[in-house]
Amino acid sequence: MTIADVVKILDGKLMAGDGTSPRAVGAVVANDLMSDVLLNDSDDILLLTSLASDQAIRTAHIVGAMGVVVHNAKPLSETMLKVAADLGVPLVSSPLSKYDACVRLHDAFLAEERG
């Protein structure tokens, strides 16, 4: 599942960054607490959060996350888009709730496993 796939699965829109990476997302971290996100040791995560602030992007950059999805159609600030573009972090906006987004991503992972 690439970032481009994530955009489709979550009815989302790519708002900043490059969404054409062929790398596959390895895991989803659904969290609004950035210190928790920093505890993760893998660098192929997708950050799913309601935190529509620069800090979500900066945290994703620090842990080398593959992208950030802001759910519930939270309004995104221009500075957040700029930080995402500057740091090269793909930023996706989705109208789904955190729960629905998790369910769809989980189903997509299961479908991938089944081939």
Binding site: M34, S35, L38, T59, I62, S94
Partner: protein, 336 residues
């Protein structure tokens, strides 16, 4: 799928300190790499009260606009506060006088034509707030009120620039003396690389930029990916800590042949129980900080967890200094 989803983008964000620096009439880059650090320090250290003019020339509400015009002409000022017993009621500007002359109401009272919907600054605000106001509004000056809402001064862009230019020249002289004596200050030194970032209290719009820079520098220098990540995590947590808990400070990175050291030093308030502060989940953060995704009490423990060596010193009311050291390992074969 239902109709196409249209995300919302918030317009009119508050000016960031980066934009303030970019808009300053000084060529700060010409001053050397630490110049923005110096300016950020000055903007935070200086309060509006340090820069404002305290000598206030004002008129009463029932004074005529002609009287206001005379006072403005004699004192060569372009705006006059309308004030009685320290209470500010409005401002008469040159434009108000021109309109009065044009329309024949120059003998009317100031109260009847003054601007009364005012934007004001407080004397205790950092100078960075004043610069934001000048960037966000078109006014040439702002009245300054004290904690009791009494008018205590007037601040103009010229006052800010004069103070900054003077203090900058003092700071640059200090910096020149320091760099000539300290070989570690040179970022181009082959054995050592040192860089310093100012971290401003409560400025969450900038918090994290130093850690992002640090990660970029480490990747450029081909430091092992996992080590770079651990250094960046510690730097980020410490940067956020300075931003939300201290009165401001600096984050310093020193890279030598075999270690990377991150030092975070702030100017207080200090930690009374260091052991408690280093435990997971202990925090003094407020709701505002939590709403920004931090303040869960993981900062110091996270920094300690990712470091190869960790040291913390603090004195209540004075400072906290945290040093995280990381051993450099050779890049894994897959990353070479």
């Amino acid at each position: 799928m239902a109709g196409e989803y249209t995300p919302t983008i918030l317009q009119g964000q508050q000016t960031s300190d980066d934009e303030i620096l970019a808009n300053m009439p000084l060529d700060t880059k010409a001053l050397g790499g630490d110049s923005s650090v110096i300016i950020m320090e000055l903007l935070q250290r200086f309060k509006v009260r340090d820069v404002m003019k305290r000598q206030i020339i004002s008129v009463a509400r029932n004074a005529s606009l002609r009287e206001a015009q005379r006072l403005m002409r004699e004192n060569r000022i372009s705006g006059l506060p309308v004030c009685e017993d320290g209470r500010l009621y409005g401002i008469v500007s040159v434009n108000d006088i021109i309109n009065a002359l044009d329309n024949g109401w120059i003998e009317d009272t100031c109260e009847s034509h003054m601007a009364s919907n005012l934007v004001v600054l407080e004397a205790g605000m950092p100078l960075s707030f004043a610069l934001r106001y000048f960037n966000n509004y078109t006014y040439g000056r702002f009245p300054v009120l004290d904690a009791d809402r009494k008018l205590v001064g007037i601040i103009s862009q010229r006052d800010v620039m004069r103070a900054l230019l003077y203090e900058l020249s003092v700071e640059i002289r200090k910096l020149e003396r320091k760099t000539s004596n300290n070989v570690l200050e040179h970022a181009t030194n082959e054995r050592y690389f040192r860089r310093e970032w100012a971290v401003v209290h409560n400025d969450l719009s900038r918090a994290g930029h130093a850690a992002n820079d640090i990660k970029g520098i480490l990747r450029e220098r081909k430091v092992d990916r996992s080590v770079a990540r651990r250094v960046a995590v510690a730097a980020y947590e410490l940067e956020i800590n300075i931003c939300i808990h201290s009165h401001g400070g600096v984050l310093v990175m020193l890279i030598s042949d075999d270690t990377v050291t991150i030092t975070a030093k702030d100017r207080g308030p200090g930690i009374s129980d260091i052991e408690w502060a280093c435990r997971d989940g202990t925090s003094t953060a407020n709701d505002w900080i939590r709403s920004m995704g931090f303040g869960a009490g993981m900062g110091l423990s996270n920094s300690k967890r990712v470091s190869d060596a960790f040291d913390i010193q603090s004195e209540v009311g004075k400072f906290t200094k945290v040093t995280c050291t990381f051993n450099l390992t050779k890049p894994a074969a897959s990353e070479q």
